[in-house]
Subunit: 259 residues, 6 copies
């Protein structure tokens, strides 16, 4: 509550994938303002992108290693760059630095801005994961639907006009068929497309906010740091000191946790 804050808050985005160049630093730098600094990291081991529970699982050790590094470097808040929030809960245990997931954050923001919201994601197979996230956030009653454009993460930018057209189509159906009154991207790979989706819907007379999860999570994380808040250490206490075979990169994390 009394942690000293510099003129700016420093938020680190950790992309839990090994694909270089997926997240352009310039896009993140564009979010900075006099009170905010944004930096970025990728993981060293793990999947090329995350579209399954398997890929989410094997991304977590690499993400935890980057969380430890961010803490060492004096970062004040970390945002995990995947709407599945992989590793959010263990990451919150191994540090007292604020760790946020764009899935959880985006759902809470969308729920505050409109009566109900829909998630527009990439693949149909991700629907259960988003419904589970909503259940864990306590927000099932605010989730109008989860819809997919059926384009894989790494193909979203191949034909941006086609991607936008599909977003507008699913967004329209979310509003008209499912009663959504706000929209949330269900993949952080869609960062930067919110304006195009919103304009496309406005052109059809549909006026709903479109939550772009990474920019939103960055600004909300910075706001929570300003408010002197971090995750509850009753919900996320440090893991007990104990035998660990493998995962040497995470061993220092345990001693950090034991501080």
């Amino acid at each position: 509550m009394s942690m000293p804050i510099n003129d700016h808050v420093h938020v680190r985005i950790i992309s839990p994938i090994v694909t270089k160049g997926f997240r352009k630093l310039a896009d993140l730098k564009a979010l900075e303002h006099p009170g905010l600094l944004v930096s970025h990291a990728e993981i060293a081991t793990g999947p090329g992108s995350i579209e399954s529970e398997f890929e989410a699982a094997v991304s977590v050790p690499g993400t935890l290693a980057q969380v430890l590094r961010a803490k060492r470097e004096g970062v004040q808040a970390v945002v995990i760059d995947c709407m599945g929030d992989p590793g959010l809960r263990p990451a919150r245990e191994i540090t007292d630095m604020l760790v946020m997931g764009p899935g959880q954050t985006g759902m809470h923001m969308a729920a505050m801005l409109g009566h109900k919201f829909s998630v527009i994601t990439v693949m149909r197979r991700l629907i259960p994961a988003f419904e589970n996230t909503a259940a864990l956030c306590g927000l099932s009653s605010k989730l109008a639907s989860v819809r997919s454009v059926d384009i894989p993460v790494l193909a979203l930018e191949e034909d941006l006009a086609a991607t936008t057209a599909r977003l507008v189509e699913e967004g329209r159906r979310a509003v008209l068929d499912n009663g959504a009154e706000a929209l949330l991207f269900g993949c952080t790979g869609l960062m930067g497309c919110a304006d195009a989706l919103r304009q496309g819907l406005l052109a059809e007379g549909i006026d709903v906010p479109v939550v772009d999860p990474i920019p939103t999570a960055i600004h909300i994380a910075a706001g929570l740091v300003r408010a002197g808040l971090t995750q509850s250490k009753t919900t996320f206490p440090a893991p007990p000191q104990k035998e660990l075979i493998g995962y040497d990169v995470l061993r220092p994390a345990l001693s950090v946790a034991a501080e």
Copy 2:
């Protein structure tokens, strides 16, 4: 999504009561930073404080008048200074400027930081109102309990040590008896007491975040403005132009809405 943002975001706190000096401007100014400007207003007609549904109801026209004024003055976000969020929904209809309530915002933030949260409010009679807010936010499953210190709003500062002692006692019971893992003040009159409550609980070995709703709502509102977001105009469309007897001060508001 493309509204121009100055170097700073301007957030206005509207206290929906007629009591002068309830909210000290210096406390608000202390929240400013290079990217944030905070200002304040009270209402001209309405109650001395809000501890009932009746008082909440008669505060709303005055609040709506101040929301219109804030919009005219170029403010970018308004926070209503009462945990009951009185007038939040009609205020969101009469403007496209972001309007936030600290009740709704505080609950969503507390739910993001810990597994479950409790509200510590002033009077027992307010318990149904907070349970209703949680239900409307979709957050009933995250609300561990609502507890009260049984001190009226305007008496909170009379004996600050006694107030703090009661906060610690109810906070402890919320954590140990009700399973709370984060705490939220249920009265904006408690602004500034979060640190004392948190230290008091830490002294007893209880480590949970304490959400001070007005500072938190200010920083979250600023974050949403930075993210280019405002309330859904599908949930909160402008009211239709129609006969209105009385409430002359709100008539300009209708023409604003009709723009």
Copy 3:
């Protein structure tokens, strides 16, 4: 539990709008029987009709003034003549006379008669309000859908055949598409149309009860008076005596509350 009851119970309908002639006294008088007397009042300040949260908010002070008058005149129960139940909660605080809302009452009755019910209202923009009422009543799981005929309140009687046709169409879709097994009008301006809707649906082989909210709320309010019941004073305690600027017409109400 032992309040003396005359041969008849006296129920007052308060229309929370300033439009004269919206509610015809003869329609209310037709509901009387040897044990029931029905009377009517409108408000002096407020909106011409209620189709927004803004209009609901500015109707409340006028409604509260009429509630106080009804109490002075020995009325035994008041029903607020709007499906949004505007002012229901503050009205229940300022008197121990039973105050009922047709929204809340109609939903509970529909839920008792069929497995799930749908609300057929006037404008699409009212859907969130009805879903919120259901949530506050604890009845979200019984609400099959909210559908709208897209005709403004004050235009419902302009072409009664067209209104009925739209009611039948939306009623059919509520039953066949949404699984409704009972229907509830979502606007008290539709009073008297229940028979036409029910006959229209029967002609298509659909046999569901249609709850006309004002007649239903009147008879249920009378039944609760007969059963010696009124709202809980633990949920709705009298507001505390306190400074109030403006709203002089409500000042006597405070002294009534303090009795």
Copy 4:
């Protein structure tokens, strides 16, 4: 919707037990008024009282026989005299006469009058049944608790002072420990005790409504008849004509259903 109503509505109470004198006709007659006639019947085969799912099950055929008789005799509404509402659903299938259960009705009324309610029943073993009724009514979120006085149904009147003392004790704990703001008797054998419980609680400064389920269900049933309403025939269609071995007394009921 257009069923002709005499000067009075006729409601029949069916006690689903074989114990004579359990329900005193004078107590029912005291509820009559110029618009209401109340009559009574017991069942011919079944249990002495109902405190288990087994007894509830073997009460149903006898109740259904009495429902058929009530319909033949021109009764306009039936109330089943047990808080478990045994036979309510099949009874609603075999007639278009309104059939109500005091469990369902009492819960909806209690939920309308206060923020949350508790049920005070006779035996601990009935708690799951009341929680199940609340779930089926969609009212789980309004049920603060179910508490028991631990006195069997047929022993309630043996020491009325002891019964009242236990009611007051459990009522107090429901309000103070569980947050109840209204109370509902969980046994129709407690009819007539509401006033004593309410006065006992008022003497301790607790002001909550106490719903006496049989008088309440009678007046609400009469109100629904006045409003032209009966159970949904989409939820409760007549049973199909089919082979039935045994239960000769119910065979005419099938032909009634097939009318």
Copy 5:
């Protein structure tokens, strides 16, 4: 927990109808394996089949008689052969032998295997009953939909190809339109059709498990017996000894219960 188990567990299927030959013993015998014995019984009084709450109610006494007999014969678990689980709760009271319903069991199994499930039943009128079962199981959030083929129970086998075609059609719509990821038959008369439905859906590229409730309930009941488990005697205590008029066949059951 320490009940001796023979080499095999003996599970008895009780068909709660009087129609001979509805359940073929050979179909049940095909489920046996070295650790499992399966037997069968019908009831002596009751309906020809169960498609209404009325028929369910009049099946219960006959079922309870067969439960008592199964206990006398040393059976270790009983499964009631109807998806409405008629008599499940009273049957669990009158014995400490495990009693299972295929409705409850099938829903829990379907919920464990896929994210959400749909029930495919025979008649539209059964939809409320399945939604009620889900609510009582706590599984409403896992139930994607209930759909019907609109073929009466006793006609299912008249044209098996037509039945299968309807199953595939409704199964496809459950998956594609309602988001089901597992399917459950909503009638035990469909036993043996799971393979045909699953193959039909696979041919359309839809790969979801199809729970055939009677085989599943038999194997799960046997598993629970192996795990030393039976229903809770706190939830299902023996009924109290008390007057009972009629139902002589159930009188011994009371003395068994009193052991």
Copy 6:
């Protein structure tokens, strides 16, 4: 539905920890019967025990490797030996062999046997995880409470009498204070203690089933195999073929998935 079953079903228990001897093979062999074979494996890399989200996360890759091995060896069902079900969802993706978690399975079984259940676990910090599991299973309304004995997993057997005494104490409070009617161990390290807990409670007059999760999950998994069922491939489709850095041991798993 038509997978060939040998005389016995083969179930493999995978302990997701590196501690040798935690699970005694003899205890598992005691569960075998003529139709069931049980085998065991531990993981090669990961934590010594699991009492945090961090330890759960780093157990998953090792568990997935063992799941692949089990499939290669012809096992028919796998049970993950931890009540947190770590790795359940990714494991279900990478194979069509049935994979079950004792947390999910135990909760569904407890919910079927009693009205509500409580989980008795080892450490207070695990409470959120069990409440989250219940939410994802859709069983929140059946979970009476989660209570802890406050003894670490690896210390449970140090003083078995003390462990049993704590189990009985928390079990009693779960039943008497929280309304539990069945109990479930919240740690698979308690395997074998169910009888002692049940006898301890019976000695105090409390008769509730105690679900020992590993034996129960084994028998239920075997039952599902007998019923021809496995997890839904719509909920758990194989992960897409894609770049993966590290986790070489899991690479064959991807090609298995792609079969």
